[in-house]
């Protein structure tokens, strides 16, 4: 049964109305803590762990920014369960990354009330700060995005969001919806039984979502999918050799920020930071002999290709790698392109379901016969 409650807000009171919901969830003891994007004293918006209901006033859910993929934060909060119920607010890419991390035992979702947000995209962190100076509010952004205008004052959302075919998160308990919502309103939708129950506790029983919602979500998703297909096609045509890959990575300085920002690159110690890749001078000189020269630092394409083999089966395409790159390398497309191929090979889709096992965590006797082409 559908459970969608329309909540109206007066001008400049979007955050206030949303805060009330979280305050009630805490006061009714549905959850003992809330992790939600909130305003900081500096003005920027960051994920914030709130345990005092009064502090929910800081909440600013729809600020168009994801400074860190929250799946990583969820991992620090739940990898070792605290036994406390926590409501966590995430967007689609964060939810999908969280699902993948849960499969890798890096997150425990048992005590989490997962609250997903409709997403029109995010700005780069620095762009968002500049927009704040120009008095951008979540409310104004959402209203402009609802009329299909996401670029603001010359700043546009990041590339990864433009090609993200999942504006609405699945696998959540509750969704806070703005796509297809009437002007000056948003929707609170109970998705799972757990979510419906939680909303029931605070008197949000709801009914059917607005009729145009489904259509608008599909249209937005299709628009982005079409652009994704076009971008992937371009990428495939142009970056189709090791040389082209190396050229596209020419500005890489081996800082490994993309690995740090990646929500699903979860190793505590990356092999590229170990002695395996710390060589003696003599070794480098030896390698330089081959062609007479050796680019330093070495192993740049090697590093990115390794990361592709490690995470492409569960890359969710959140674009944090590109955002973290100090030299503006467009890694998102590379990873989305390879991820598409490798996930298709195993009929897997990152973040689709908690019940699907990750491709490299299972194997069968009688599969992938085409790899060797041999039958006994």
């Amino acid at each position: 049964m559908a459970n969608y409650t329309k909540v109206s807000y007066k001008k400049d009171e979007l955050n206030l109305e949303i805060s009330k919901i979280f305050k009630q969830l805490m006061e009714k003891k549905v959850v003992s803590a809330v992790l939600a994007p909130s305003s900081q004293s500096s003005g920027v918006v960051r994920q914030t762990l709130i345990v005092n209901p009064i502090k929910t006033a800081q909440i600013d859910l729809f600020a168009p920014i994801i400074p860190v993929n929250s799946a990583k934060i969820a991992s620090s909060l739940t990898a070792k369960p605290s036994g406390k119920n926590i409501a966590m607010v995430m967007r689609s890419c964060e939810v999908r990354a969280a699902i993948e991390l849960a499969k890798l035992n890096q997150i425990n979702l048992d005590d989490v009330l997962l609250i997903g947000l409709d997403c029109f995209g995010r700005f780069e962190n620095t762009d968002f700060s500049k927009l704040l100076e120009q008095n951008l509010t979540s409310e104004s952004f959402i209203q402009s995005a609802q009329s299909e205008k996401v670029a603001v004052n010359g700043f546009d959302i990041v590339g990864a969001c433009k090609i993200c075919e999942y504006p609405v998160p699945d696998n959540v308990d509750i969704r806070i919806c703005v796509i297809g919502a009437d002007t000056n309103s948003f929707g609170v939708e109970g998705v799972s039984e757990k979510g419906k129950q939680a909303l029931g506790e605070i008197g949000l029983t709801g009914s059917e979502p607005p009729g145009k919602r489904k259509e608008l979500v599909e249209a937005l998703s299709k628009k982005r999918s079409d652009l994704l297909a076009q971008k992937l096609d371009e990428y495939k045509q142009t970056i189709n050799s090791i040389q082209a890959l190396e050229d596209s990575l020419a500005n890489c300085i081996n800082c490994y920020n993309c690995r740090v920002a990646c929500p699903v690159c979860y190793c505590k110690e990356c092999v590229y930071l170990t002695n395996t890749f710390r060589h003696e001078g003599e070794q480098y000189l030896g390698w330089a002999q081959r062609e007479g020269t050796l680019k330093m630092p070495t192993d740049t394409a090697f590093y990115h290709l390794t990361r592709m083999t490690h995470i492409s089966t569960f890359c969710v395409g959140c674009g944090q790698c590109t955002s973290a790159c100090p030299n503006d390398i467009e890694l998102t497309l590379a990873f989305r392109s390879v991820a598409k191929a490798s996930q298709a090979r195993f009929e897997y889709q990152a973040g689709r379901s908690l019940d699907e096992q990750q491709p490299l965590t299972l194997f069968h006797d009688d599969e992938l016969v085409e790899v060797t082409g041999q039958v006994k």
């Binding site: 495939k236 970056i239 189709n240 050799s241 090791i242 040389q243 082209a244 890959l245 092999v271 081959r290 062609e291 394409a301 090697f302 290709l305 390794t306 592709m308 083999t309 492409s312 089966t313 392109s337 390879v338 191929a341 490798s342 090979r345 195993f346 491709p359 490299l360 194997f363 069968h364 006797d365 009688d366 599969e367 992938l368 790899v371 060797t372 041999q374 006994k376």
Partner: protein
């Protein structure tokens, strides 16, 4: 100009394919010297990095030899290898290293003749394909 001789890096499982290569030797079955054998304890321990590094350093082909499904000395290392090879094939394909250059084959310890066949077949295939695109670009650049 002399004929192109492909360089093939071969990771052979100690328990099957490596022994098969030994058998081929003692049975006087000759196979092309293009195969450069690295003995590993299981096809399942061939880290994708080994393969990527081989290609980046100019290998024209990479051959992994493992035990037939059901025969793995470590129960299922070969099955894990097969999944990894499928994945790595998808990654390499994007960057112009086709699956014709990256083979996984099951060769049991008793199959010295099959080792000879596979070595010949892969060498012929790579001769027809020509040098790895990684090398072609290096030479041109």
């Amino acid at each position: 100009m002399s004929e192109f001789e492909p360089k093939i890096v071969a990771f052979f499982c100690n328990w099957c394919t490596f022994t098969a290569a030994d058998l081929a030797g003692t049975s006087r079955l000759s196979y092309p010297p293009n195969i450069n054998i690295i003995r590993v304890m299981c096809s399942g321990m061939v880290d994708p990095k080994f393969v990527i590094k081989a290609f980046l350093n100019g290998a024209d082909g990479v051959l992994i030899g493992g035990c037939w499904p059901g025969d793995c000395h470590y129960i299922n290392g070969n099955l894990k290898a097969r999944r990894r090879v499928a994945l790595l094939t998808e990654v390499l394909k994007q960057y112009g290293i086709s699956e014709d250059r990256f083979w996984l084959r099951w060769i049991a310890a008793s199959e010295g003749n099959m080792l000879q066949e596979v070595a010949k077949e892969m060498t012929e295939k790579l001769k027809a394909l020509g040098p790895s695109p990684v090398n072609v670009n290096k030479l041109a650049g």
